[in-house]
């Protein structure tokens, strides 16, 4: 009974991952992260992704604050924030977020305020989507681990 749901959870996880890859939300770098997780570092992906969430939210807030500033919009600072967000997105395999950053950066290099505002909207949307899907993924994983944990004592008997 427990074995069956473990398989089903794994199937759910794989299906979600496949969807995210298909949509281009994640790329193979995310797989690399998963491969780096092992017994010596069992929560590696979760740790890294949580850092990513914290950093990204900070950067998104800063970007919005910079754009609200109409008079002396600091496009250079914007570019720096975007480089950071691009880098970290690339490092965890957040492909679509990274691509939006690239477009956003192009707008900031041209001091195109309207373009930047549009890009920020898209960026925030993409980020939210990514975050909710990754949470879903971690929830499934957690359930699977819990299910597996309950199984072991039974196996010993």
């Amino acid at each position: 009974m427990l074995g069956f749901s473990a398989d089903r959870l794994r199937a759910d996880m794989n299906r979600l991952l496949a969807l995210l890859f298909h949509q281009g939300v994640l790329d193979e770098q995310f797989l690399q992260l998963q491969q780096l997780q092992d017994e010596s570092s069992p929560n590696f992906v979760l740790e890294v992704v949580n850092i990513y969430f914290q950093e990204s939210e900070r950067l998104l807030k800063s970007l919005r604050a910079l754009l609200i500033e109409r008079e002396l919009t600091d496009y250079k600072k914007m570019g720096n924030h975007l480089n950071q967000l691009m880098g970290s997105s690339s490092s965890i395999g957040a492909n679509r977020v990274r691509n939006v950053c690239i477009a956003f950066r192009a707008n900031s290099e041209q001091s195109n305020r309207a373009g930047c505002l549009r890009a920020l909207e898209v960026l925030e949307h993409e980020y939210c989507y990514l975050k909710s899907k990754l949470h879903e993924l971690f929830q499934i994983e957690q359930q699977r681990v819990l299910g597996a944990g309950v199984r072991y004592p039974m196996q010993q008997n």
């Binding site: 770098q29 690399q32 992260l33 491969q35 780096l36 092992d38 010596s40 570092s41 590696f44 740790e47 890294v48 850092i51 990513y52 950093e55 480089n83 950071q84 691009m86 880098g87 970290s88 690339s90 490092s91 965890i92 395999g93």
Partner: protein, 222 residues
């Protein structure tokens, strides 16, 4: 210096991004490297400067150093520096230059990472200044697998240099260094965890024999 058979290579990773530091640390540890990460070029130089200090103390007053501080010195040795190119303050290029300008550090191989393909004039300058190669981020396991040859090439260069240096030391310094190594050997043999399938005594003896040959330059085989 003394090269224990099971000592790990130590890599110093420099990156201002926390995520990238975590990533490179995991990649390196997975590949059995000892890792130290720092978030800036200046911290890297600080860390490397610590090694310089230890080396000086070790060499100048060998009799006063206990065997435990020798082992500490070994742990602080850096076999490779891997650094991000684009960092606030001191860039990876600035760090590269500083390392290559230093007499004690210039033999350490330096690899540069960057999140975008660097314009060729920048990458050529880096190579001119002595960078071994470039990794495009995100760095993968296959990239980390390319590090070993750079470390080994420099290790070999180091050993040759040390052989020349050792020949120049005086008789008494020479004897005290030898005694130290023997003490270290005994210390390491008793401290080492036994690896599966390895005969500890056999390994220790080989090590002793090998070390005598390497560090003397002149072969005194036991």
């Amino acid at each position: 210096m003394v090269m224990a058979a099971d000592s790990q290579f130590h890599v110093l990773a420099v990156d201002d991004s926390l995520i990238d530091r975590k990533l490179i640390e995991r990649l390196l540890k997975t590949s059995s490297y000892q890792v130290t990460t720092v978030d800036s070029g200046s911290k890297a130089l600080e860390f490397l400067g610590l090694i310089e200090e230890h080396q000086h103390t070790n060499f100048k007053s060998p009799s006063s150093s206990s065997s435990s501080s020798n082992i500490h010195h070994q742990e602080v040795e850096v076999n490779l520096i891997i650094t991000d190119y684009c960092m606030p303050g001191m860039t990876g290029f600035d760090l590269l230059k500083k390392v290559k300008e230093s007499t004690s550090l210039r033999n350490i191989p330096v690899v540069i990472m960057s999140s975008e393909n660097l314009p060729s004039r920048i990458s050529s300058r880096c190579l001119e200044e002595g960078a071994e190669e470039f990794f495009l981020k995100p760095v993968r396991l296959c990239d980390v697998n390319k590090l070993k040859p750079h470390i080994m090439k420099t290790k070999f260069k180091d050993q040759n240099q040390e052989e020349e240096e050792e020949e120049e030391t005086t008789e008494t310094e020479f004897e005290s260094i030898e005694k130290q190594q023997q003490q270290q050997q005994i210390q390491m043999n008793s401290n080492n965890k036994r690896k599966a399938g390895m005969d500890e005594e056999g390994v220790g003896e080989d090590r002793r024999r090998r070390i005598r040959y390497n560090s003397n330059g002149v072969a005194t085989v036991n």
